[in-house]
Amino acid sequence: MTKEQIFKLIVTHACEVIPRLETHAFTETDSLRELGANSIDRSEIVMMTLEAINLDMPLAQTLKAGNIGELAQLLADRKASLPA
């Protein structure tokens, strides 16, 4: 699964959790926090994305990502490191 595919999934889930973002033009440098997602919203978006790509990793480790692009990269790298 590519970083771009995961990025799209994060965007889909962000819009699901915070419907007003549906009209937002997402870029990789967007941060969920700056888009108004609080800590519960952010955890929800991350959990939905992990589930969608069938990846099991400690949620706390996803905090290293500073924006949506970095989060997509982090999840893509982790997914790629696991045996298929």
Binding site: N38, S39, S43, E44, A60
Partner: protein
């Protein structure tokens, strides 16, 4: 196998409360999003209340109900707290004196952030199970207060503290632990722990709380899943969706419990979204009712959730409660126990909900006056006399004898009963 668990239990949540929605408006927070916290009210500790007054007011009815012979069998007093006012002297010594307990008694205090209450419960249970003093009882008092003053934000401290002022409460749970588990019989050996070092939230100074709200939330979610997986590995046929009639979890605020429940139901029970919502209402909501009116009482929070589940659930027949405790830093545990009709009657007889109703409702002006801090007895105070005329109606809120801090004299705390 020997039976063990909670013989009697009571929750005490002070004499004053604020309406959380009113507070949110007062602070200019977004009310629509704020509803996700699932908070209604919270207890505010007044200057003449401290962890001892909360603990004694919770424990006194339990002790008064014992015969002198039964009272003499209290051989351990464990205080579970992160709000102690002395680094050396244990609060158990004050409880022991104010309750007039037998001097042949082990007294100590235990800290592990919000996990302290369950660390204490397990310690008490193992004291009973060890059988070294058959018939002995342990008195467990989990008591915590928050005097809301946050540390200045610095690197590593996030600004998502808007959740914390409306949710940080004050209160205590007292429990007698013995081989007569009338209220809650613990499933012996049915427990899974999960802990590791993490810097999520902490009290780096006696009157200051700090932390990373994101990291704390995610660590809680990770631990809830991992602790349950360990429980499941140790308990044959344990099933998240069907083994427990109720779930009682550490409650920083209801929204966090809802998130954790959703996560484990999705990942472990493979439940669908609509089913998760109805499962939450049925199995989790009863445990939240007290917490929604008191706020986060840290070390006492999981015990209060258990009391709330027993008070608000259906116990015509015995039911198993799955319990999860998380303490920042961190340590967590998933364990279980059984409550029945008698346990519910005994919790109900304490009138916990009535006393929550009786608390004085603070105006925002009164609340801000408390926060301004001029009345607050700071950590390390050598001599002080809290002003009994400050928010005076609160002192009579319960229309029965209530313990308050009278003065601090050369660091020693003196208390008085007011009725």
């Amino acid at each position: 196998m020997q039976t063990v668990g909670i013989e009697a239990m009571n929750v005490y949540a002070g004499t004053a409360r604020v309406d959380v929605e009113e507070l949110a408006r007062h602070r200019g927070l977004d009310i629509t999003r704020f509803a996700n916290l699932l908070m209604k009210e919270k207890t505010v500790a007044l200057p003449y209340e401290d962890p001892i007054t909360f603990g004694i007011n919770a424990a006194k009815p339990l002790i008064d109900a014992l015969t002198p012979q039964e009272k003499d069998r209290i051989e351990v007093v464990i205080t579970c707290t992160e709000s102690a006012f002395d680094f050396g002297k244990s609060m158990s010594t004050y409880f022991h004196k104010l309750l007039g307990l037998n001097r042949n008694c082990r007294l100590f205090e235990l800290k592990n952030a919000c996990y302290s209450g369950i660390a204490g419960l397990q310690t008490a249970i193992n004291f009973v199970l060890a059988g070294v003093s058959p018939g002995a009882k342990a008195l467990l008092i989990a008591t915590d207060i928050s005097r809301f003053m946050t540390a200045e934000g610095g690197e590593g401290l996030t600004d998502d503290w808007s959740f914390f002022e409306p949710s940080s409460g004050a209160g205590a749970v007292a429990a007698l632990v013995s081989e007569l588990p009338y209220v809650f019989q613990v499933d012996v050996g049915a427990s899974g722990c999960y802990g590791y070092e993490v810097m999520d939230t902490c009290r780096p100074a006696p009157d200051r709380e700090a932390g990373d709200a994101d990291l704390s939330l995610l660590s809680y979610l990770d631990c809830c899943e991992k602790a349950f997986m360990e429980y499941q590995a140790r308990v044959e046929d344990a099933d998240l969706a069907s083994t427990f009639t109720y779930l009682a979890m550490h409650t920083p605020f209801g929204g966090m419990v809802k998130g954790a429940h959703r996560n484990i139901m999705r990942k472990i029970a493979k439940a669908r979204a609509a089913d998760i919502e109805s499962d939450f209402e049925r199995r989790v909501q009863p445990s939240l009712n007290f917490g929604q009116r008191v706020g986060n009482i840290m070390g006492a929070s999981t015990l209060m959730a258990i009391a709330s589940a027993i008070e608000h659930g259906q116990f015509d027949a015995p039911q198993r409660i799955g319990c999860f405790s998380y303490g920042s830093g961190c340590c967590s545990e998933f364990f279980s126990g059984v409550a029945g009709r008698e346990g519910q009657a005994r919790i109900h007889a304490q009138g916990i909900g009535d006393r929550l109703d009786q608390r004085h409702r603070l105006s925002m002006t009164e609340y801000d006056e408390i926060l301004a801090g001029s009345h607050v007895v700071k950590f390390g105070t050598r001599n002080a006399v809290p002003d009994p005329s400050f928010i005076a109606p609160a002192r009579k809120a319960h229309e029965r004898e209530t313990l308050f801090l009278k003065q601090i004299k050369e660091f020693h705390r003196e208390y008085e009963w007011v009725s």
